[in-house]
């Protein structure tokens, strides 16, 4: 076995590999750019080598620098993670030449699968089903109709040079094919100056389902079942699960067999993933093969009980796979939610900045530690599985910690939160709770959106397609609707908390003895138009609410209301609380009945009409303008950066608006109160 490996990556995957290596007694070398000097992966690894400035092209993808780090550190093997150099055949080849093991497939396999046309050809030769289509040029509408008929409707007519939906038509019959061919051709010519057209099968109700394969250098290849990754936003996976709620055993076996056949065809000898698109009738078609460890590999680990990174390292060291296909068992259900630094309330705008608060839920049910806070903690045996007694498992793969920075240079993924349960419902329930318990502040993030998906009936029923998000959230995300019964429970929780806050406030020193404050006997909780009257019992608390040890100031509450548990994020407001639960974010005012009466006399809140301008708050130099005329800006969004006293000051939008005019350009020197831009 290797004595020392280098991880040519950063973030959560670098941390992930370090954990397994440490468990195996292998030394680890991290690489880092200037932006990652204090990153978690650097702290976790035994050694760390600096490889350049923040841009990936000058550090993590700069092959010569990574190769130099390998040479200097004396690492015997390299794990590439995903992204960066992981699918660069030349990198694998360069390692082969220097005698350092590449913990991945041979360069030839990367080459073969890296090219779309070659990979499809190879797949077809290996007996893998591919999307039926005609790749050749089509002369005229008659030929188009003939080909479409051969493929079988519906078909997609596409411009060769196409993109962004232009020059693309779906045809369900001959007439549509004829018409679609002509209009695609015209549109392609107009848009791209290239009117070459091809036709392929249009896959209806498409799902993204992929098969995990694993091979060794002795010709053995097995598959570890599938992952369904249909919940995507703009082709970026958001939620994955294993197994798929859609596949039956027969389809699974057929897909697995094809994936293994393809892997064997290219002498695959590591972990890899064969991606398929599956239609509503469970027809599946090869998309591509990823010749690396996949981001969503933890769900496979959770249902198979295998440590894929460990197996990758072992086969790279020449060991045989310790199990045959028949030994692979799939147990229970696992779901992964990807936490991204993007703000769902602001059109999923990327968000960067400091994680002022980062408290993931407690990991549980795992034999080996995956807790980044205790990297040197106890580690399990040969697998990442499972405390069999635990009814659910929670795992969080991350590369950050509280006080860390989400930088603009890299992937906006903050963490991969995974849950496992004996069945899909249990896994979903565990995920809801884990998302509720995940505390994240300082940047915009998609936690509420993930929670809304977990509560979405179509997701719960498993009726997924790759268009799920586009179809179910067509206007973006504005917070999840909460059922009346749940609102009532939240109102009662808020009232119970208010009672605790009031009781503490009245325990202050200096009170007029015998004339202490008489605490309210009931509260009224209001938010928006909703109003709930909450009676208090003799102990000054609402019946049925157990705050579970919550005390004023605590930011996370695990309460039970009428016996049902709820995990909430709590921020105290002067007259109540901001409660975050599932996909909802509510500011609940809790007042005595009399005060609620008075509050009802108050006029509805309106947005201030002023501040149609952004004024320069100090004499200074404009460094950058972050928006353009016509941009819709959101409250808190960066508008401009002004340098004064050699310090950069970021100016942010005070409220929503649309940029009408911009008066200052970068480099301009401004006096105080000079107008930088105006809003409509």
């Amino acid at each position: 076995m290797f004595k020392k490996i280098l991880i040519a990556n950063r973030g959560e995957i670098a941390c992930r590999v370090v954990k397994t290596a440490r468990k195996m007694g292998i030394g680890t070398v991290a690489v880092y750019s200037d932006a990652d000097r204090d990153a978690l992966h650097v702290r976790m690894a035994d050694e760390a080598v600096h490889i350049g400035p923040p841009p990936a092209a000058e550090s993590y993808i700069a092959m010569d620098k990574v190769l130099a780090a390998i040479r200097d550190s004396g690492a015997e093997a390299v794990h590439p993670g995903y992204g960066f150099l992981s699918e660069r055949a030349e990198f694998a080849r360069a390692l082969e030449e220097t005698g350092v093991a590449f913990i991945g497939p041979p360069a030839s396999a990367i080459d073969a699968m890296g090219d779309k046309i070659t990979s499809k050809k190879l797949a077809a030769e290996a007996g893998v089903s591919t999307v039926p289509g005609h790749m050749g040029l089509i002369a005229d509408a008659d030929e188009a109709v003939k080909i479409a008929g051969e493929i079988g409707y519906p078909v997609m007519i596409k411009a060769s040079a196409g993109g962004g939906g232009k020059g693309m038509r779906i045809a369900w019959n001959d007439a549509e094919a004829r018409e679609g061919f002509q209009s695609s051709k015209n549109e392609a010519k107009a848009s791209f100056g290239d009117d070459r057209i091809f036709i392929e099968k249009f896959v209806t109700q498409p799902r993204h389902i992929e098969i995990q394969v694993l091979g060794d250098r002795h010709g053995n290849v097995i598959h570890l079942g599938e992952r369904e990754c249909s919940i995507q936003r703009r082709n970026q996976k958001v939620i994955e699960e294993a197994p798929s709620p859609f596949l039956d055993a027969g389809t699974r076996a057929a897909m697995g067999a094809q994936a293994v056949a393809l892997a064997k065809a290219v002498d695959y000898c590591s972990a890899g993933t064969v991606e398929f698109i599956v239609d509503g009738d469970r027809n599946f078609y090869f998309l591509e093969m990823n010749t690396r460890l996949q981001v969503e590999h933890p769900v496979t680990e959770l249902v198979t009980g295998l440590d894929l990174v460990e197996l990758m390292i072992r086969v790279a060291a020449g060991e045989r796979l310790p199990l045959a296909q028949g030994d692979v068992t799939l147990d229970g259900w696992a779901i992964e939610s990807r936490l991204y630094a993007e703000d769902p309330y602001r059109g999923f705008l990327p968000s960067i900045g400091r994680l002022t608060r980062y408290r993931p839920p407690q990991e549980r049910g795992l034999a080996g530690t995956l807790d980044p806070a205790t990297p040197e903690g106890a580690l399990g045996g040969a697998t990442v599985s499972a405390d069999a007694r635990s009814p659910v498992r929670v795992r969080n793969d991350t590369g950050v910690c509280e006080g860390g920075e989400i930088s603009r240079y890299y992937d906006p993924m903050i963490a991969k939160l995974c849950t496992w349960g004996p069945d899909r419902d249990a896994a979903i329930a565990a995920m809801r709770d884990a998302l509720d318990a995940f505390e994240l502040e300082g940047i915009g993030h998609n936690l509420p959106f993930l929670a809304a998906v977990m509560d979405h009936p179509r997701f719960v029923e498993g009726r997924l397609t790759t268009a799920f998000i586009a179809e179910e959230f067509p206007d973006g995300f504005n917070g999840a609707a909460i059922a009346e019964a749940d609102l009532r429970r939240l109102a009662h929780v808020a009232a119970a908390m208010r009672a605790a806050v009031d009781a503490r406030a009245a325990s202050v020193s200096g009170v007029l003895t015998n004339h202490e404050r008489k605490l309210p006997k009931a509260y009224v909780a209001t938010f928006g138009d909703a109003r709930f009257d909450v009676a208090l019992n003799g102990r000054g608390a609402p019946d049925g609410v157990d705050l579970g040890g919550w005390a004023p100031g605590a930011r996370l509450a695990r309460v039970t209301v009428d016996g049902a548990p709820m995990t909430l994020k709590v921020d105290q407001l002067t007259e109540g609380f901001r409660l975050r639960w599932r996909g909802a974010d509510l500011a609940i005012a809790v007042r005595s009945p009399r005060l609620a009466e008075l509050a009802a006399l108050m006029p509805p809140r309106e947005d201030g009409a002023s501040a149609k301008q952004l004024l320069c708050p100090m004499p200074g130099l404009v460094v950058s303008i972050a928006v353009a005329v016509g941009d819709e800006v959101q409250e808190g969004q960066t508008l401009a950066t002004v340098e004064a006293m050699k310090m950069e000051n970021v100016l942010r939008a005070e409220r929503k608006g649309k940029v009408r005019t911009i008066h200052a350009a970068p480099g301009a020197s401004l006096a105080v109160d000079e107008v930088i831009m105006e809003f409509e």
């Binding site: 202050v508 020193s509 007029l512 404050r517 009399r594 005060l595 008075l598 310090m647």
Partner: protein, 510 residues
């Protein structure tokens, strides 16, 4: 007998109606509560003890004799906020537009006198058209009586003004002399002369809101300390503020049970200071992570944002926080920030509230405008305020502490009791680059040599240890343990006593 008792109830019912049902409705239509409703919202339920309910004005001119209202244009008395006593007056806009008569002023003076004698704060809810013109100079004299009590009470009992409607002309000077002014957005304004007079005299066209609304006074003039959405929210915020304040200068600041361990470590603070010394960070993160339960009651949030002032608690006891804010103007001191912080520091010192100061200050703001406007004297106010304060003073230097500004910010030299520095602190006369450019002016043409000189200066002075060697810093602490260290420092200072030489009063650089 029964009739007599009933008569009292009947008289009370009339008094409670103030200017009558119609005017109450008009008040509600404007989104405003009535004087009595405001008192209800401010005080603990059922705790209000009203005085002078039947006082009536004594004016006979201009037909005033025919219209009197029991209680006249103000509701006065006392009650409790979380069980602690406060005196309150609430001007009643439904009675003669809340105008101030001799009797109105007498009622206010009565409870102010009681508050002084009994040692409890006065909270004034202002909603008044001004002097009662019908009473002429009598009304002016009445204002003077209130002013005099504001002055005498200053530093003896906390005085809080809430502007909940118009407050114009001479009337503004009573709130002006109180400790805190809160305003209601959209429905309150304050000015010495209104838009009409302004138009006539200076030909400036301006609305009442622009001239003296909540936004103007919280962000431009600094007259008001905070503003909130409506009457109910504003009064809730006043309750929150009172919870931090001692009842008088004879009492210690309040203590209450707390649920936040003083031992709490905040590992994330170790990475608060960015690698690049010119990159700002949000000082409020440090403030909220150090205070109990992250609860920070900020004052003057929208004015001179380069310095942060407000109240918090450590181990359940009130502290006043002053902190440079690197996010705004690099956290430098200028006229506005010095004035803002100086007034806050003096309030805390007057009422025995310990001071917690966080320092990251690159110096005073240079510029013609600053010098012409008198930064010398205004800057001296903060220096003076910190220097004269005898309350426990704990200071934490996080990054820059340059030049004179370092001395100003509650340094050891101004009798700071406990001064901590983070390892990232740079206590120096100025930044390394500036220093090198002065010290090695002859080498400026050679960038390599200058760079080497700068590096040399940085290595020597851009750290807390030179100051620590001199004892100007009591201890260099880990950022993550700031809460624990600060809590222990204040605990150690609970017995602090300081003798000051007798003086009639000081003469700070006004």
């Amino acid at each position: 007998m029964k009739d007599i008792l009933e008569q009292l109830e009947a008289r009370r019912a009339v008094a409670r109606l103030g200017g009558g049902a119609q005017r109450i409705e008009a008040q509600h239509a404007k989104g405003k509560l009535t004087a009595r409703e405001r008192v209800e919202a401010l005080l603990d339920e059922g705790s209000f003890e009203e005085y002078d309910m039947f006082v009536a004005h004594r004016c006979h001119d201009f037909g005033m004799a025919e219209t009197t209202y029991p209680g006249d244009g103000v509701v006065t008395g006392w009650g409790t906020i979380n069980g602690r006593q406060v005196y309150v007056f609430s001007q009643d806009f439904t009675v003669f537009g809340g105008s101030v008569s001799e009797t109105v002023a007498a009622k206010i003076c009565k409870i102010m006198d009681m508050a002084m004698r009994n040692g409890a704060p006065v909270i004034g809810l202002n909603d008044s058209g001004g002097a009662r013109i019908q009473e002429g100079v009598g009304s002016l004299a009445a204002y003077g009586d209130v002013f005099q009590r504001n002055i005498e009470g200053s530093g003896v009992i906390p005085q809080i003004s809430v502007i909940m409607g118009p407050c114009a002309g001479g009337a503004v000077y009573s709130p002006a002399m109180t400790d805190f002014i809160y305003m209601v957005k959209g429905s309150s304004y304050m000015f010495v002369t209104g838009p009409d007079v302004v138009k006539t005299v200076t030909n400036e066209t301006v609305t009442a809101e622009e001239l003296g609304g909540a936004k103007t006074h919280t962000s431009k003039s600094s007259v008001a300390d905070a503003a909130f959405e409506n009457d109910v929210e504003t009064l809730a915020e006043v309750r929150r503020l009172v919870d931090f304040l001692p009842l008088s200068n004879r009492e210690t600041p309040p203590q209450r049970p707390f649920f936040d361990s003083p031992e709490r470590l905040e590992e994330s603070l170790n990475s608060l200071i960015p690698d690049n010394p010119n990159q700002p960070y949000d000082m409020k993160e440090l403030v909220t992570k150090v205070l109990d339960e992250g609860d920070f009651c900020e004052q003057q949030r929208d004015f001179a944002r380069n310095i942060i002032t407000g109240f918090g608690r450590i181990e359940g006891r009130t502290v006043g926080v002053v902190a440079n804010q690197p996010m705004v103007l690099a956290g430098c001191l200028d006229i506005d920030s010095a004035r803002k912080a100086a007034r806050f520091v003096r309030f805390c010192d007057a009422f025995g509230i310990p001071l917690l100061t966080f320092v990251d200050v690159p110096g005073f703001l240079p510029g013609v405008a600053q010098e012409y406007a008198g930064i010398i004297k205004h800057g001296a106010k903060l220096l003076y305020a910190f220097g004269e304060a005898t309350v426990p003073k704990v200071t934490v230097i996080t990054r820059k502490a340059y030049g004179g500004a370092y001395v100003v910010m509650a340094s050891k030299h101004l009798k700071g009791d406990v001064t901590y520095a983070w390892p990232t602190a740079e206590i120096a006369v100025m930044g390394a680059k500036g220093a090198t450019e002065i010290l090695y002016r002859s080498e400026l043409a050679d960038p390599d040599r200058i760079a080497a000189r700068t590096k040399e200066y940085e290595d020597r002075f851009a750290n807390p240890f030179v100051a620590a060697e001199r004892g100007f810093i009591d201890e260099v602490i880990m950022p993550m343990s700031t809460r624990r260290r600060v809590a222990r420092a204040f605990a150690a200072l609970r017995g602090k006593r300081v003798e000051t030489p007798w003086k009639k009063h000081d003469n700070l650089p006004l």
